[in-house]
């Protein structure tokens, strides 16, 4: 597969390490009332779609950027690639 890195352009997926669902960005608040339940769901409950999937890839043999890659798990078509840091900020993870 070729991942179109937002900064570096097309790169071979072999340079990357795969983590999993991009929902791992949404780490719950440890002080929430039901923090334990939220953390349970965060850690253990995942969708496993045959189709579009937003997932985290780490450019380990590259610039060390974490990326959010939107990929069709059936066709391997890559629909979008974003810097995970930008996604995290957009999802309200700024301090």
């Amino acid at each position: 597969m070729i991942i179109n890195h937002p900064i570096l352009g097309p790169r071979d997926f072999q340079e990357f390490t795969y983590l999993g669902d991009a929902s791992l960005i949404d780490r719950p608040d440890w002080q929430a009332d039901n923090a334990a339940d939220q953390f349970h769901d965060y850690l253990y409950l995942r969708d496993n779609p045959a189709g579009e999937h937003r997932e985290l890839w780490f450019h380990e043999q590259g610039d060390r950027s974490w990326l959010v890659v939107t990929r069709n798990t059936v066709t391997h078509e890559i629909l979008n690639v974003e810097l995970a840091r930008d996604v995290a900020r957009a999802r309200g993870r700024s301090k």
Partner: protein
């Protein structure tokens, strides 16, 4: 700081010699480079512009753009990642460059000495393309001078700096694996030439 230049510990090269190693082939030379000091420079959060301008005054020129490298006088620098660069200078005159650089950028940047984290081999000669295509997936034939590519060679993550396309490259890899990287380069050269 003169005393740092003449202390009682004798340096060895990444390949374990007291002199840098040179391997010569028809149309290609692979040279171990040991005379460069290195320091990484990272921008502090929100100080991206400040660190760029402070570094520019220290280096005498702008920090390189993503996937690039450049030279300014004795200094050279390459892009390592977002808001992260490696600065290089002659070792004998700049063994303590990390401290000087930190002083130059102050609170705007984080500086880490990297001199001995790496080994470097310079590859020179008209057979560079043929040898590099056996080593890494970088599209060297489409490359230009000033490209700095992070790629891997025989499972080792390296920086590939293009000085002159098809003619001169620097390959910078992890120092502890210098022997493995050197073996890969020499084996590829023997394979092609």
């Amino acid at each position: 700081m003169g005393k740092f230049d003449n202390h009682g510990l004798k340096a060895i090269s990444p390949l374990g010699g007291y002199e840098p190693r040179v391997d010569v082939f028809t149309g290609l030379q692979i040279r171990e480079v040991t005379d460069r000091a290195l320091a990484s420079l990272a921008a502090r959060q929100g100080s991206e512009n400040a660190v760029k301008s402070a570094a520019a005054s220290y280096l005498g020129g702008a920090l390189p753009e993503p996937a690039g490298w450049g030279e300014h006088g004795v200094f050279s620098a390459w892009w390592m990642g977002p808001d992260l660069w490696m600065i290089s200078a002659p070792h004998d005159s700049h063994e303590l460059m990390a401290a000087d650089l930190k002083q130059a950028v102050g609170e705007a940047g984080s500086v880490v000495e990297q001199t001995d984290g790496w080994c470097r081999f310079d590859m020179e000669g008209p057979r560079c393309f043929d040898v590099l295509e056996r080593l890494c997936n970088a599209n060297v034939r489409a490359g230009k001078a000033g490209d700095a590519t992070r790629t891997s060679m025989e499972h080792l993550g390296v920086f590939l700096l293009c000085q002159a396309p098809g003619q001169v490259y620097s390959i910078i890899g992890p120092r502890s694996s210098a022997a493995s990287l050197h073996h890969a380069l020499v084996a590829a050269a023997k394979s092609v030439i």
